[in-house]
Amino acid sequence: MTLHDMISRLNLKPVRESVTGMWQRRALLGGLGAVGAGVALPALAQFRVEIAGVGATQIPMAVARFRDEAAGGQPIAAIVRANLERSGLFRGVDAPAALDETARPAMAEWRARAADALVAGSVTRLADGRFDVRYKLWDVVKGEDLGGQSQAVVAGDLRLAAHRIADAVFRQLTGEPGVFATRLAYVTRSPGRFSLIVADADGEGAQVALASPEPIISPAWSPDGRQLAYVSFETQKAVVWVQEVASGRRRMLANFRGSNSAPAWSPDGAQLALTLSRDGGSRLFLQPAAGGEPRRLAAGGGAGVIDTEPVFTADGATLYFVSDRGGGPQVYRMPVAGGAVERVTFNGDYNISPAVSPDGRALAYVTRASGGFRLMLMELASGRAQPLTDTRDDESPSFAPNGRLLLYATRAGGRDLLMTTTLDGRIKTRLLAAGIDMREPAWGPFGR
């Protein structure tokens, strides 16, 4: 099996130059396991992995229980293992005993367990009440210590510490940044109650940011991850609010005549694109994040046209949006600084909910076909698009900040639930919570 074969089996995009060295090192770990079937996760993570398609090659990884992790009350090793397994790229190997980062593990023993890599670490309570969490990663095949990290966190951030370790290990072994330490926002609905929820990327640690008797839609993370913009109907109309996640402090951003919706932050956090009906109809505006007068975007289109769902590219230069100026809703784009509006979607008569990958190369959106709504991914350079799911009620795609995963809402078995998928559609995970419908997901940025 060539290196190219191994990489393609791992469902990653074509390897970039800078990553080649890493891939060779990983390839040298050798023993890239046999065909992996569906992975059984420990009960911790609420997202469940469904690995579609046979032949998924995974790196066997052992994560030993961290010395004294019980002192902190969080199962650090199990969280790290679950994260890595959920990426679909790693298969967990049992590690019977606790090990710490100062150990000199016997590589022969771990090779005998068919592990290619080993993680071990410790949790130590500090005098000020915080916890010092350390880890180390070994390349079992080469018998090499690949280094590690330490971090000091308060008890409430121990799960975050575990997620950071998973991210670090993931980057060490794949060359790609992990998204285990990021957060998601989404809206749940139970009878008479809507809640805006913030949870870890694995679905755990869910907290309520806003509870309301009226609907909440379109949450959008600020680029620094500290604020959420959203649309609330608490005043009996659509109003855009901005809320500080940590403190709960909130303010109305846009409460003009008519409906105010579809907030999207510019990458520098200084302004938001919005859909406002203050001039009649639904048109695009830019508004300073600090508040004040919005400026209407010159997006062309005639009277009575709907323009909505704006989203910035990561470089802040281009806005993608939905417009029905051509009859039915389609995705268009325009330079933020003004200029020609260009149509982007041409297949089908109903294309909405654009999301642009962080590297600007791909566009996710939802298309209506045969009466159902399906998540699509378009390679922008060629315009070629393919469906990523075989469900019929997909909504609201949102890219992970490393650009490798898409989070979206769908319907299965009469329930609204959230799913993630790799960009080739092969590895999917599902978040399901009993009795609760989930929708409107938004993946938070790096930076925790």
Partner: protein
Amino acid sequence: MKRIAGMTALLLAALVVAGCAAPVALDAAGGAPVETRTPGAAAAARAPAAAAAPGAGAAAAPQTQVAAVDLGRQGVAAAAIDRIVLFDFDSDAIRPEFRTLIDAHAQRLVANRNLRLVIEGHADERGGREYNLALGQRRAEAVLRSLVLLGAREAQIEAVSFGEERPAVAESSERAWAQNRRAELRDR
């Protein structure tokens, strides 16, 4: 006691009447009428009370008269007018069968420039939430434009949308969708 009170009342009434431009004979048709007005009577008349005083004949309305304005009954009367306009799929065109409803609300707005309405537009659940919010807004604004064309002032009306978020019928059927594609006119 009673007779004295009655006499005093008559005396007072006579004194009051004596100051009127059009004197009413005390013994004409039972004398100057003491009005007993009920809220029902007032609302049913739906016109300035003085002009419709029953039994007053052609004479001026009594000065002791108090015209009751019952907001509750006004609300009930307004509710007696339909306030839901339904729409076809993917359309914001006002169907002919709703013209009477819109006319009636336009008349209310013209008759009372202090009256404020909010028009709440809705869409059925199919399709994206933000696009459906915009479709609902389009329907609300179509109704607003009709009202303005019939004489209402734009400042009296706000058009808003709930998109698919507040269905009238929470089911997934053609029947439910037809009920959900609507604009509701509410007094503010």
